[in-house]
């Protein structure tokens, strides 16, 4: 239980600090720390396979690409000239009020969802998440359709990204 609170605290703190950073590189690193803590939680749930996959896919692969983009765009700080020259706080009170309202609503929702669930332990069978063979079988039989749809979605996103990048370059060459 102590380990749970440790990992949970790290995950929540790191996620909060991600949005509190002005330097995007630090945001990326804190997000990696948060993923690491999540993976620790998976280990505590007796699902080492999911934990390692979390590290390989999110912390290892996706975040490296994030870091690349941040570095190559060379955006050291987020407060650009527009941000510095933005209207004083009084003029922004409208949007701040809306933001505050949304935050309170989210908080209420979270409390409601957590208390309603009563913190019961999950009903999934232990073997289903700890055995690689079981995960593979479930993924390619019961969940074959969602699996394929997800991969299709990712391919569409990739093709779209390539297309957008190409169009920009062609426009510049013209």
């Amino acid at each position: 239980m102590l380990m749970f609170y440790f990992f949970a605290a790290v995950a929540v703190l790191a996620s909060l600090l991600v949005i509190a950073q002005t330097n995007p590189i630090y945001s990326v690193l804190l997000l990696i720390a948060s993923f690491g803590a999540l993976s620790g939680l998976y280990v505590l749930l007796d699902a080492p396979f999911v934990a390692v996959i979390q590290i390989i896919v999110y912390a290892g692969a996706i975040m490296v690409l994030f870091l690349f983009v941040v570095m190559l765009l060379n955006a050291p700080r987020e407060d650009t000239d527009e941000d510095v020259a933005r209207p004083p706080a009084a003029a922004r009170s409208g949007s701040m009020r809306l933001g505050g309202l949304l935050a309170v609503a989210l908080g209420i929702e979270l409390v409601w969802a957590l208390t309603k669930g009563g913190g019961e332990s999950g009903a999934f069978p232990g073997a289903a998440v700890s055995s690689v063979a079981e995960i593979g079988r479930a993924l390619f039989t019961d969940f074959a359709f969602p699996f394929e749809v997800t991969s299709l979605l990712i391919i569409v996103a990739m093709v779209g990204a390539v297309l957008l990048a190409r169009r920009e370059r062609e426009a510049r060459e013209r």
Partner: protein, 341 residues
Amino acid sequence: VTPLLVAQIVLTLFVFVMLLNSAAIMVYVERKVAALLQQRLGPYLVGPKGLLQPLADVVKLMFKEELRPAAADAFLFALAPIISATCAFAAFAVVPFGAETTLFGLIPEGLRLQVADVNVAILVVFAIASMSVYGIVLAGWSSNSKYSLLGGLRSSAQMISYELSYGLALASVLVVANSLSLTDIVNRQAGAWWHVLPRWFIFVQPLGFLIYMTAGIAETNRAPFDFPEAEQELVAGYHTEYSSMSFAMFFLAEYINMVTVSAVATDLFLGGWHGPFLPESLGWIWFLIKVAAILFFYVWMRWTLPRYRYDQLMRFGWKVLLPVAVVNLIVTAAGVLYFGA
């Protein structure tokens, strides 16, 4: 406090110290073998046959001044070598290097010669390898120097490209072995076919072994794939701005990564601690011999082959190695399905 717990802690410390030593030994071996291949003498002044040269190197590194560029990001600059060294040490934790032992009857139960017995060990090795990219990227970025940045970007691009083939080579072995645990994989390789040919997976997966070693050399940034430190182009790549002990940590990480890649190759393809003539309890001697052979091969490669060009490396990684690895995996999977595991 049980004897087993004490033994486990001693084992962990032992592995840590031996990894540190292996880096020192590798520095000496590398210089001696390089000298041999180039018909020189190599280090011979410090100690008998220059054996104390690594010690002299370490002392020199410790007494050097720790420099940091004024415009560098102080925190990340200090963090980067720590990430590199930590990942290098951590990866070895799941590598088994000998059969279960009672240490000549000192402890009641058998002790596995492995720091952490994880049932997804092979994936843990892969995950830690993918995390070690960060040490290099951050070192390159935080130094605020063009050579460091280019070196860091190059090496991370290289590591990401070769990681795919590396992972697929691992996958083809685990399909054959039908397990993700390195201990299980090693134990599947015990015995011999027709009493002659050892049941090593290198004979089942010759292509997989080649892919693994090629990708492994690229992963550890060694010649002929040592672009991060192509001195003619990038001074010293990502660690250009580092000095003293923080440089030593990168150096250490590089050598320990080599040892880990060799040890994993031994476990996956060369039968781990299984071998003829020696009883099971002395299997770790076989393990050491095999790892040493691969490490010698590493050094031999470095002083034999010239460095590739960067675009050649990328083309080779994506257009040759990756398709071959995919085909190898598919053929292996089909074979396992057809002939049964």
